[in-house]
């Protein structure tokens, strides 16, 4: 028994050592839900966040996970991220790593940098948390746990860069996109410092910070990551109007983030356009349309109440005129209201049920609901149509590009087929002629003939030569007979190969992994055909005798 426990102890120590050397993941840091950490969706989400922070290149977005190299790179980058964030480096993207990533990237959750320390280091006690919640804005920075460290943390600086980029504080969307080699120290990157300064002014305008800030500090960090506050302030027209005048790009970027969060077909960051076709006098023309404009228009159509609440001072979006500015304070207020989490109580459920019942009683509202569903169905159908037309276009383009290659392949196949056909015809004739050798009849050539050749069943050979036969007659006849024997040997070899092909086909059909075997057999079949061709070429003198009465093939093939 002691020995058994000794082995278990040894095994346990080995496992511990493997975990400590990071050969095995640390299971204690893993998520409570193993399905969550193992799923490919989770890996994709981790990868997307690392790309967003510039730890992974853009190319990894669609990387095939079945490539072991991909996972090795991912683990390496997770370790780098963990090192930069100051958490345990085990390459295992468990619960803690996920939370840190959420803090840095998310626009919805963990919006208080002040609480990040508690999440990252698990240092905060309940006492500290209550102290923080009771504190006023003035003294909050005094109880900041990691005040100095957070601003020096590389991951935080990357997150700041990423946030400022997404909110449009950089001058060039393409040039300033974060990547693995981006310099994230403001003192060494003038563009980054400029973006921070721009945000300072923006935050001051929105009264998110009280004093004029000089560089990145805790208050500015809070203002930057407490994103809901920014949207809420922009909901007020007194803040919106000057901000929109000074920072139109930022306002559009914020609208994009909000619409993306609400599930519209748009992504945060750089403005995107799509090509729309218009038909005029039977002529089809394409024009680029801003996706932001389209999404805002769709939002107004989905939430008409927003438009109704606009007052005269706001620049109201009008469907009849696309030139008018659709972004306004009311829109931002609507975004802010929609992002506020609502606690659902039983009474809410009851009122919802009542509303639904009421909806069904009214004919006009039923119609409105039906229209909405129709719109939804049309949207799905349109998407499908677009996908099919794209696929059709892609196939057409590929075919056009490879037309010449396909034509060449067709020519090659037809040439091979002609050669093969000739081989098949010859092979059949060889087998047919060869088999006649076995009949046991006497062979004589020419009429009248002076020699006679024969063999019996066990290939004992007999020959009778006329004493008056001339040498050239004997020579001709023996060559003919020798050739007949060669045809027999070649015919037998060909039949052997054909039987082998047939056997492979039988095996392929009867096997449960038929298709796999079929693929493997192709190579063998090709070899058999090559061997048949070799036999035919060995009988060099052989030509199809189409004039023979018993010839199977009556037309000469060339």
């Amino acid at each position: 028994m002691d020995d058994k426990f000794g082995i278990i102890d040894k095994l346990g120590r080995g496992l511990d050592a493997s975990v400590s050397k990071h050969y095995l993941p640390n299971a204690t840091l893993a998520s409570d839900n193993p399905n969550k950490t193992d799923s490919s969706a989770y890996i994709r989400a981790i990868r997307a966040r690392l790309i967003e922070l510039g730890y992974l290149g853009e190319g990894h977005k669609f990387a095939n996970r079945h490539n072991p190299q991909t996972d090795r790179i991912l683990i390496k980058k997770i370790k780098q991220f963990q090192h930069d964030a100051g958490i345990t480096q085990d390459g295992w993207a468990g619960k803690l790593t996920w939370r840190v990533l959420e803090c840095l990237v998310s626009f919805e959750n963990q919006q208080s940098p002040a609480l990040w320390g508690t999440v990252w280091r698990k240092a905060a006690s309940e006492k500290w948390r209550s102290l923080w919640q009771q504190s006023t804005q003035e003294n909050q920075h005094h109880i900041w746990l990691l005040k100095g460290e957070v601003l020096q943390n590389k991951t935080v600086m990357r997150a700041v860069y990423c946030r400022l980029y997404t909110l449009g504080f950089f001058t060039d969307w393409d040039k300033h996109r974060i990547h693995t080699k981006t310099i994230i120290n403001p003192s060494e990157n003038a563009d980054f410092q400029n973006a921070i300064d721009q945000f300072c002014v923006f935050a001051k305008q929105l009264k998110l910070v009280k004093n004029a800030c000089s560089g990145l500090d805790i208050n500015l960090l809070n203002a930057m990551f407490e994103y809901d506050n920014i949207v809420a302030r922009l909901g007020d027209n007194t803040h919106f109007a000057p901000a929109f005048t000074a920072y139109p790009n930022t306002i559009e970027a914020i609208a994009r983030v909000e619409l993306w969060l609400l599930g519209y077909d748009i992504s945060p960051g750089k403005e995107q356009t799509i090509r729309r076709a218009t038909r005029r006098f039977k002529k089809r023309t394409f024009a680029s349309v801003s996706k932001t404009q389209l999404a805002v228009r769709q939002f107004y159509s989905d939430y008409p109440v927003v438009r109704l609440s606009d007052n005269e001072n706001d620049k109201i979006y009008d469907e009849r005129s696309d030139n008018r500015q659709p972004l306004n304070a009311a829109l931002m207020a609507a975004f802010s209201a929609l992002s506020t989490s609502i606690e659902v109580t039983d009474s809410d459920n009851e009122s919802l049920n009542a509303s639904v019942s009421q909806l069904w009683q009214s004919k006009s509202k039923q119609n409105a609901l039906r229209t909405q569903f129709n719109k939804l169905a049309n949207g799905i159908f349109d998407g499908l149509k677009r996908m099919v037309s794209w696929l059709f276009g892609a196939v057409k383009r590929v075919l056009e590009k490879t037309k010449e290659v396909i034509a060449n392949i067709a020519r090659y196949i037809s040439k091979k087929a002609r050669t093969c056909y000739l081989s098949v015809v010859k092979a059949f004739d060889i087998v047919y002629s060869g088999m006649s050798y076995l009949k046991g009849h006497a062979f004589h050539y020419g009429a009248p003939s002076k020699t006679c050749f024969a063999h019996d069943n066990d290939f004992d050979q007999f020959c009778c030569i006329d004493s008056k036969a001339l040498p050239h007659q004997i020579s001709f006849d023996r060559t003919q007979y020798g050739f007949q024997a060669k045809l027999y040997a070649a015919g037998l070899t060909i039949v052997g190969h054909l039987l082998r092909i047939a056997q492979r086909i039988v095996r392929t059909v009867s096997s449960p992994v038929g298709w796999l075997l079929a693929l493997l057999s192709l190579a063998n079949v090709a070899n058999a055909i090559k061997a048949i061709n070799q036999q035919i070429s060995l009988v060099e003198k052989y030509e199809l005798d189409v004039t023979h009465r018993k010839s199977l093939f009556k037309t000469r093939i060339s």
Binding site: G440, A442, S475, R478
Partner: protein, 116 residues
């Protein structure tokens, strides 16, 4: 075609029993054949025709017996001409090749059937 193939296989199967030895005999006699394809000749008929001629005696010009263990016994008549000798040598070669091809064919077929 299939009937012919079946006959050939049957013939070959009959001969398997005596594949251990290969006998090649070349005769000299009076032979003039005018037969066509419609009436296949049998060697026995040819020999009886040769022997039927009283003026020309049928004699054995050459004979070779090859055993499977490599022993070869050969006999050549002293009056044999060069062409007749070559014809005999060709017959030995044809017999050896045909037999080897048949054995190889049977071997491969048995192998394939065993694989099935």
């Amino acid at each position: 075609m299939m009937g012919k193939f079946k006959d050939a296989m049957q013939t070959m199967a009959d001969g398997i029993g005596d594949l251990s030895k290969l006998d090649v005999v070349t005769f000299q006699g009076s032979v003039t054949l005018n037969a066509t394809d419609t009436a296949p000749l049998k060697f026995d008929a040819v020999m009886s025709s040769a022997m039927g001629n009283a003026t020309v005696a049928v004699k054995v010009l050459a004979s070779t017996q090859t055993s499977i263990d490599g022993d070869i016994v050969a006999f050549y008549d002293k009056d044999i001409t060069e062409e007749q000798r070559l014809a005999h040598a060709d017959l030995v070669l044809a017999g050896a090749e045909s037999r080897a091809a048949s054995i190889e064919f049977v071997r491969s077929i048995v192998g394939e059937i065993a694989d099935l």
